[in-house]
């Protein structure tokens, strides 16, 4: 531990004594790799904006999976360029989504395999919190240290998040509205984490300042970029005739009445002894993925089920309260 502290001090010193320019430069390089994301929200205290991190030179943006992404989000780069984006993949259990914009040769954060971040490490947090920066204005930079690397007390519902991995607890007030998806970088300018959504301790009312370690996200981001997993819906041709494919009824699902353009795929009722009942699906479960493909509403759910042969298993990923559960329905 003394070794770690020595490193921490060395870093503080390199920031402090070797004068300001390096810190300002690191900050600037970080800012160029952080984007502003605009999407759904704007009502009832739900901000319609958040932050994102460029993770490939070809326009892949890692960000927090949130309601902001309920519509195809707009991405604004640090240089002011504005892009429509598509959601190429997301992992609900990590609260992670990866967007893609049509651009190349962008500055980006490589997510290095061997990167250790520990308590005491000085960090910069870069995000567009409170949407202070607009257009080409650079994102906000904050400094602090990692206070702890710890498990999140989420399973017992203290923090309402499906994320179950380690988090870096920060000593700065980084997780403000709009900060989710922002970058946490170390004193070398390397990406070590992504700021998470605002979380509040349900018992004490205290707001948590934390970041999800980059190494927890690395594999999934890599898989999504490489196309090994994608949640983007497949082309429409793959549909089977109605009487040969699945639909909610064949599985024993009664969905919430479909009244909106994208009614969330909440289960209203489960027919006893059906495939759904056997898999222990319950009312109020939200279907997030079918066979790894994103379900952005009931229409998409029906479409995805149309592509699965009635005799085949159906893989679902659902959210039940703060838990993300993978389930297999056997007909």
């Amino acid at each position: 531990m003394r070794f770690a502290a020595t490193i921490a001090i060395a870093m503080i010193v390199s920031w402090n004594a070797k004068a300001e320019p390096p810190l300002a430069e690191w900050a600037r390089e970080g800012q160029q790799r952080v984007v502003k994301i605009y999407g759904a929200g704007g009502l009832a205290g739900l901000e319609a904006y958040q932050s994102g991190i460029l993770v490939s030179p070809d326009g892949h943006v890692a960000t927090s999976w949130s309601y902001v992404l309920d519509v195809e989000p707009i991405v604004l780069l640090d240089d002011g360029r504005r892009f429509e984006s598509t959601i190429v993949g997301f992992e609900p259990a990590l609260e992670l989504a990866v967007l893609k914009i049509d651009a190349t040769d962008l500055p980006y954060f490589p997510i290095e395999e061997k990167i250790e971040a520990q308590w005491g490490d000085p960090i910069l947090a870069i995000s567009n919190l409170f949407n202070i920066a607009t257009g080409k204005e650079p994102a906000s930079v904050m400094q602090g240290t990692i206070a702890a690397v710890s498990d999140l007390d989420a399973r017992r519902g203290t923090f309402k998040t499906p994320y179950r991995g380690k988090v870096m607890i920060l000593d700065l007030i980084a997780n403000n509205p709009g900060a989710a998806g922002g970058a946490v970088i170390d004193s070398e300018g390397r990406l070590i984490g992504m700021l998470g959504k605002e979380l509040r301790d349900s018992a004490t009312g205290v707001w948590l300042n934390y970041s999800i370690p980059a190494k927890e996200l690395r594999g999934t981001i890599g898989d999504i970029i490489a196309g090994r997993t994608t949640s983007a819906p497949p082309p429409a041709e793959a549909m089977l005739p109605r009487d040969q494919s699945h639909d909610p009824k064949t599985l024993g699902l009664v969905m919430l009445p479909d009244v909106l353009e994208t009614t969330p795929a909440y289960i209203d009722e489960v027919v006893p002894d059906s495939a759904a009942a056997k898999a222990d699906l319950r009312p109020d479960d939200l279907i997030l993925l079918v066979g790894g493909k994103r379900v952005d509403g009931q229409r998409t759910l029906r479409k995805l089920l149309r592509m699965i042969d009635r005799r085949d298993d159906v893989e679902l990923t659902i959210q039940r309260d703060t838990e993300i559960l993978p389930l297999v329905l056997r007909p």
Binding site: I9, N16, L23, A24, T134, S140, V141, M142, I173
Partner: protein, 612 residues
């Protein structure tokens, strides 16, 4: 524990961590880099701390922070800190003493106020840095009075970095607009308002003013904003005038073009910008030498200027790029600002009622408000009232109430300075001494024409070659300026002569406006305004030499004024050239051969002889 001690002990703790544990009794040695970094920080804090002011509103009605900027005790703070106090407040310094302070000038739009601490002429004061040089990631510190904790007069130091520069924060209505401001993650809490933010060497780079507060209550959430010190520098002269000052607008609205650039979407045809050729659809390229690309950029720059400033503007219209100078208009009509100020202040809190809930949104902070005396009453008193018997004598000696002023006393001080400067510089004169000026000159042309100017008590005359311009009435002079005539030189010289003779009090309504660039150039010149019937005359003087460099005469507000440029060469105090300009064009440029003062009667009696 004082911040110094705190940092020292942090150093010790860190040192213990790196020191070999087996040698606990050995003297602690520090990594020299670490040691020098910490010593630099301690030195910066030691340098800055004596200049930070804890502002308390007498009667426990709140307070905030401030920063001393001159040895005479002038200090900057926020308008929203001084407004509950009115004219008088008490200020603590870290020397452990409390000083009476009087209001000097206020800027309700920019949320700035100048106050003067009394009782010393050797106050410690902060050196001003440049907020333009600041960048995101720079270390910075905030020193002030959060939560009004400084009951022992020791301010609180918080340390952080600049999170952003050149930020724009929307005003509430047209007041409290923060343009080109600094954003920091150093802790800013209620009570820090008005206090300084310093760079890591202890130079002040901004005045802390507000913070983003949302659902987490009125405490720091890592996002505080400071008015840039460069904006404050622009306003120092205006604030020293004791006036309630206003901000500038171009007289045009702009939008960010989706294809890039910022274009004029609407323009007043009475604005100076319009007279200089700015039109609907023109693309604005630069303001005051700074490149603009978005509507936010434009407002970010304009928001930092006082009204009446004349700044360089570059725009492109119909393929042609124009570099010009524009006079900026006021954001508010003359009485509009006073009304808005009264309206913007919180209503008097009902007695014993709980504090109104204001937790939502982006708020100015700084006022740990307790139920106080009705504020509009105070404002009324400040505007119209007389010396307050409750105030200390020293405060009342430097406090004169007058409509449109926070404190007319400080304007009187500037008027006196102007009067003395005017009488002691060429051509000079004494109070009440009626002289006439006779100026012999020739035009600055390849084939010069002879010129004679006579500025007498009842008659002014300009003879250029064969042509004679004569004015015996103010109305005639007014017309010459409206017409853009060469005789526009006459009202300028006439006003100058009479100002020397009569002084500011008897000239007509006279006031010190503040300091502004001369035709877009710095250093900022002192600007004195005299209302001469329908004419408004402005004297622009160099801040160091106090020599008059330009006399401007405005007839119609919506037309170019006559500008008489008084040009001195070779360091002479006596002018060698007079140049009359309208807009950017010179209409008459004269080389002075002689400039004499003669008894008034002589000049009036023998005009023909002198004119040959």
């Amino acid at each position: 524990m004082s911040p110094k001690r705190l940092f020292q002990s942090v150093v010790v703790v860190l040192a213990l961590l790196i020191a070999p544990s087996t040698h606990g009794i050995e003297p602690i040695t520090l990594d020299p880099i670490l040691e020098s970094a910490e010593l630099e920080r301690i030195a910066a804090i030691d340098l800055a701390k004596p200049t930070a002011v804890s502002v308390f509103v007498p009667g426990g009605a709140g307070g905030g922070s401030g920063v001393l900027i001159s040895p005479e005790g002038y200090a900057l703070t926020n308008f929203h800190v001084t407004s509950p106090a009115g004219s008088f407040m008490r200020c603590g310094l870290n020397d452990g003493r409390v000083y009476d302070a009087v209001i000097v000038g206020i800027d309700p739009v920019g949320d700035l106020a100048m106050i003067r601490l009394l009782g010393r002429d050797d106050f410690p004061y902060a050196e001003m840095g440049s907020s333009r040089a600041a960048q995101a990631g720079d270390w910075c510190m905030v020193i002030g009075n959060p939560f009004l904790l400084a009951s022992n007069l020791q301010p609180t130091v918080t340390w952080g970095i600049l999170s952003g520069v050149g930020r724009y924060q929307y005003p509430s209505g047209t007041l409290l607009e923060y343009g080109d401001c600094l954003q920091t993650d150093a802790s800013i809490n209620p009570g820090n308002s008005g206090g300084p933010i310093y760079d890591s060497s202890g130079k002040v780079i901004g005045i802390v003013g507000r913070a983003s507060f949302e659902k987490r209550g009125r405490v720091n959430v890592g996002v505080g904003y400071a008015i840039s010190i460069n904006q404050a520098k622009n306003f120092l002269g205006y604030l020293r005038s004791g006036r309630i000052v206003d901000h500038a607008t171009l007289g045009a609205t702009v939008v960010t073009d989706p294809d890039g650039g910022v274009v004029v979407s609407n323009i007043l045809d009475t604005s100076d910008a319009y007279r200089r050729g700015l039109r609907y659809g023109a693309e604005i390229l630069e303001i005051d030498g700074r490149i603009v690309q978005t509507a936010n950029d434009v407002q970010n720059i304009l928001a930092t200027f006082p009204n009446g400033w004349r700044v360089p503007l570059t725009f492109r219209y119909e393929g042609k790029t124009t570099n010009t100078l524009v006079r900026l208009m006021s954001v508010h009509l003359p009485d509009e600002l006073l009304e808005k100020m009264a309206g913007a202040l919180p209503p008097p809190p009902p007695r014993q009622a709980p504090k109104p809930d204001q937790e939502e949104g982006d708020k100015e902070e700084g006022d740990e408000k307790k139920p106080a005396e009705s504020i509009p009453d105070k404002l009324r008193k400040a505007i119209a009232g007389k010396a307050n018997p409750k105030y200390p004598k020293a405060v009342n000696e430097q406090l004169v109430s007058r409509k449109g002023y926070a404190n007319y006393h400080f304007n009187q001080v500037q008027q006196e300075r102007f009067r003395n400067a005017l009488r002691s510089q060429f051509p000079g004169g004494k109070a009440g001494e009626s002289v006439a000026w006779v100026i012999e000159a020739e035009t600055d042309q390849p084939q010069p024409q002879q010129v004679q100017i006579r500025i007498g008590k009842d008659k002014t005359e300009l003879v250029v070659g064969e042509k004679t311009f004569e004015a015996t009435s103010r109305g005639k002079l007014y017309d010459e300026v409206v017409d853009g005539s060469v005789a526009g030189m006459l009202p300028a010289l006439d006003a100058w002569r009479r100002m020397i003779e009569k002084g500011p009090q008897k000239f007509g309504e006279t006031f010190y406006l503040g300091s502004m660039p001369l035709a877009g150039e710095r250093p900022l010149r002192d600007c004195m305004v005299g209302l001469d019937g329908e004419l408004e005359v402005r004297w622009m003087s160099h801040p160091d030499s106090e020599l008059v460099e330009v006399v401007e005469v405005f007839a119609d507000r919506d037309e170019d004024p006559a500008e008489l440029w008084v040009i001195r060469e070779n360091g002479d105090e006596q002018p060698s050239i007079l140049d009359l300009r309208y807009g950017l064009d010179s209409v008459l440029r004269l080389k002075i051969k002689s400039w004499q003062q003669v008894p008034a009667e002589t000049a009036e009696a023998q005009p023909e002889e002198a004119a040959e």
